[in-house]
Symmetry: C2
Subunit: 131 residues, 2 copies
Amino acid sequence: MISFKGFEPTGSSPIYLQIIKHIKVSAVSGDAANGDELPSRRSLSAMLGINPNTVQKAYRLLEDEGIISTVPGAKSILDISPEKLASIKIELLQSTALSAVKSMIEMHITKDDAFRVMEELWDKEEKGESK
Amino acid sequence: MISFKGFEPTGSSPIYLQIIKHIKVSAVSGDAANGDELPSRRSLSAMLGINPNTVQKAYRLLEDEGIISTVPGAKSILDISPEKLASIKIELLQSTALSAVKSMIEMHITKDDAFRVMEELWDKEEKGESK
DNA sequence: CATGCTGTATTATTCAAGTAATACGGTTTA
DNA sequence: TAAACCGTATTACTTGAATAATACAGCATG
């Protein structure tokens, strides 16, 4: 079962997008494996205190993307091809790393300076990661 | 005069935010210097084909932040303290670099892999920069 | 002085996105 | 069989943000 422990909708980002990202990150990071079950729409919505349709929206989009699979009468499961998994990894990277690079170049920052900053941020963040 | 040549509101991001960012980037990158004049609200709005109040909103927020200065009866000018300029630089970096780092750590990517990707993106982006 | 510019404030409108309410039909299981 | 779950579809509501319309007052310059 894909875990939503510690997951809680926060910030201004739409709940359904946070759910989608959580599942994508779980897959990419290896926290979830192919074939793992997802919570039912209703149970997850009850868990989060939101409307079932919000979860449904997330699951539907994930299914459209070919990331999860829903067999009628059974549970939804994680179901990604290796190629798709790789492309999601790239997509997640691009959505952040690429925009960071673009904006730093726009600011006329030298590559050396940029990477110095990035490395500092990395070390600081990694230290704060004690899940 | 701070240049808006080549500037055109694009994408889904609000126009007034794009104006704000353009001015901030101009300041940080060195394209604009302290004391440089900004286009009047009305002229810039005419230039962009938008409502003057949209420009006013951007200018007002910039003034609230202590980035520009408006003397009554004269033009608005760029007016930032060195400290403020440094803090904007950091702010712009954090808004992109930090979130990139966070998301890569979340994906369980190794630091080496991450920086390999970033470097690749950097070189590709820099090459495409022929302003 | 008068025309035309400036910045400012208040209010309205528009629009889209997110979320929720509700209902339908099917499957499992006790 | 009946209760409890499941996924799905349609529709409605709400809210907030972005932008625009309009009006007011001051300064500059011809």
